[in-house]
């Protein structure tokens, strides 16, 4: 009976397993093989550290992603805790505004940055009226930072709200009655309580920024972030081996960050688009 059921369960798993093996595991194995087949051989995997251009691209991508993660956690942390605890007229509208961009593809996010900071952008317009000179920064690292912030904030806010709703109000009450000031409570009660939510959403934010291609594609014609470097190697230089090895290293980094975060914060860490 039990053996028959095991067989049936195996049959139910078979379609997903077969599709996954044929369309992900095998292609990935091929990618790994191609990566080692260039003029550099296996050393192609180290090129990201030894080749100055790739290394600069790696450093820029990591710095950008880390900066975006820090800024997002700070901003979305404040807004998320605020929305979790305060009810006021217009709250649900504000919440809807904050989560509307969740479904935007990276290219659309790039276009939103152009709307804000491009040649006919909103910020440039205001600055022009105030000072008489145009400010255009959509196509720079600052524009990229803004775009990554744009797609990260909604996701982190949702996780922070969910985490903040589970916080035990009695702990804060106790801290307050023992004479702790507002900042002390934030530092010693709220932030430790939100730790799992901050770690997991921070990791997703970092991993998504590392691999974000759409936004960079729209804005970063001249900026070497890793996904753009890989894209250029593959399509313009037809350097398949290098594109393959760089994308495997990038994939390893994002996977590692998510795996580490999960072991630090408990389950529930999954990347998103």
């Amino acid at each position: 009976m039990r053996r028959r059921e095991n067989l049936l369960l195996l049959l139910l798993m078979a379609p997903a397993a077969a599709a996954f093996a044929a369309f992900w595991l095998l292609p990935m194995a091929r990618l790994a093989a191609v990566a080692g087949s260039g003029p550099l051989g296996i050393a192609a995997y180290a090129a990201i550290l030894t080749n100055p251009r790739y290394f600069a691209s790696l450093v820029a991508t990591i710095l950008l992603s880390a900066g975006v993660t820090g800024a997002t956690l700070l901003l979305a942390g404040v807004a998320g805790v605020f929305l979790a605890r305060n009810y006021f007229p217009g709250r649900s509208l504000l919440l809807a505004l904050l989560t509307f961009p969740l479904a935007f593809p990276g290219v659309v996010v790039g276009f939103m940055v152009i709307m804000l900071a491009g040649r006919q952008g909103f910020i440039g317009d205001i600055v022009f009226r105030l000072s008489g000179s145009r400010l255009v920064f959509a196509y720079s690292m600052t524009g990229l930072f803004m775009g990554y912030l744009y797609f990260s904030i909604p996701r982190v806010i949702l996780t922070v709200i969910a985490g903040a709703e589970k916080l035990d109000a009695a702990l804060e009450e106790a801290a307050r009655s023992l004479g702790a000031g507002r900042w002390r409570i934030v530092r010693d009660v709220i932030i430790p309580g939100l730790r799992p939510a901050l770690i997991s959403s921070g990791a997703i934010c970092f991993a998504t920024s590392m691999g974000a291609f759409g936004t960079a594609f729209t804005l970063a014609t001249n900026i070497d972030v890793l996904p753009m470097t890989i894209y250029t190697e593959f399509t313009l230089n037809a350097n398949f081996a290098m594109a393959a090895s760089l994308s495997l290293v990038l994939g390893f980094i994002t996977w590692l960050v998510l795996a580490l975060a999960r072991s630090a914060a408990g389950s529930g860490v999954a990347a998103a688009a």
Binding site: R4, E5, L12, M13, P15, A16, A17, F20, F23, W24, L25, L26, P27, M28, R30, L31, V78, A79, V81, F82, N86, L94, L97, L98, F100, P101, L102, A103, P105, G106, V107, V108, F111, M112, M115, L116, F122, Y150, M210, G211, F213, F217, T218, P227, Y231, F234, F240, A244, S247, L248, L250, G251, T254, W255, L258, A259, A270, A271, A272, A273
Partner: protein, 263 residues
């Protein structure tokens, strides 16, 4: 409760973030309906750009919908049975399978797309059909369907329900279709909305997988942002908002129903 200065400071931060997110959306809606965005609203309003977008890019809308619903079908067929197995047998092996299925989400889409091209790019028929894009989308969305269904299945007492049914003589198939599927309805619905929304917006892989004859919505965006005037890019973005707003409303409504269920 009295509002303190801290309340207003936090409200201001939250409202500023909201403005940062929504001002460009409003601007692009305005730009897509304005005769000449550079001259501003005084140049007048028009539907001309929307019309032009439709004549240039309506194919991308249809293809995106086709891919999204095919993707939904595939993730239902592959993902729901897989989630059931994962819920029923929780061992080291099934944990490993779950981990593996998550990988296409943990690894950037660019890597998956390059891998698919390197292995299957030589099969011209396959490479140039929309099925090539579908494969990428299924890999990327499958984990979301599996997770949504798995979350529901592990929150109910599946073992007792199935035992009861089988002691009354229900076969494996009767249990699966009569007990399991109806019970994970809410998970399937949540997963389905997620799959469709993600598929419609997927760009990272699709840009590599598409061909000039298989352009999806986000591919069309990249094309129009790069080569068309800003009014057309904006009008195209309005079309996108029209497509996702109903989906988002459904998600929200559904989340509220889910919250009521749990109470």
């Amino acid at each position: 409760m009295t509002r303190t200065g801290s309340f207003y400071a936090q409200l201001a931060v939250t409202a500023l973030i909201g403005a940062f997110l929504i001002v460009p959306v409003i601007l692009s809606v305005v730009a897509g309906l304005t005769v000449n965005f550079f001259q501003g609203l005084k140049s007048g309003l028009t539907l001309r750009w929307i019309g032009e977008v439709w004549s240039l890019y309506s194919g991308t809308v249809y293809l995106s919908l086709l891919v999204a619903f095919a993707c939904l079908g595939a993730t239902l067929l592959l993902g729901v049975p897989a989630a059931y197995v994962l819920a029923k047998r929780q061992s080291r092996w099934t944990r490993l399978v779950e981990e593996l299925l998550m990988l296409p989400v943990a690894v950037p889409g660019l890597a998956t797309a390059l891998a698919l091209i390197l292995l299957y790019g030589g099969f011209r028929e396959f490479r140039t059909s929309w099925h090539f894009i579908l494969v990428g989308h299924v890999l990327f969305t499958l984990p979301f369907m599996v997770r949504a269904v798995l979350a529901v299945l592990t929150s109910i007492d599946l073992a007792t329900l199935e035992e009861g049914a089988s002691s009354l003589g229900a076969s494996f198939a009767q249990r699966f279709f009569g007990i399991v599927l109806p019970n994970c309805r809410s998970g399937i619905l949540a997963g389905a909305l997620m799959v469709v929304t993600l598929s419609i917006g997927e760009f990272n892989m699709t840009w590599m997988l598409h061909t000039p004859l298989t352009k999806t919505l986000p591919v069309g965006f990249a094309d129009s942002y790069a080569s068309m005037r800003i009014e057309i890019g904006s009008a195209y973005t309005i079309v996108f908002f029209f497509m996702i707003v109903p989906l988002l409303l459904l998600v929200q409504r559904f989340a509220r129903l889910g919250a009521l269920d749990r109470q």
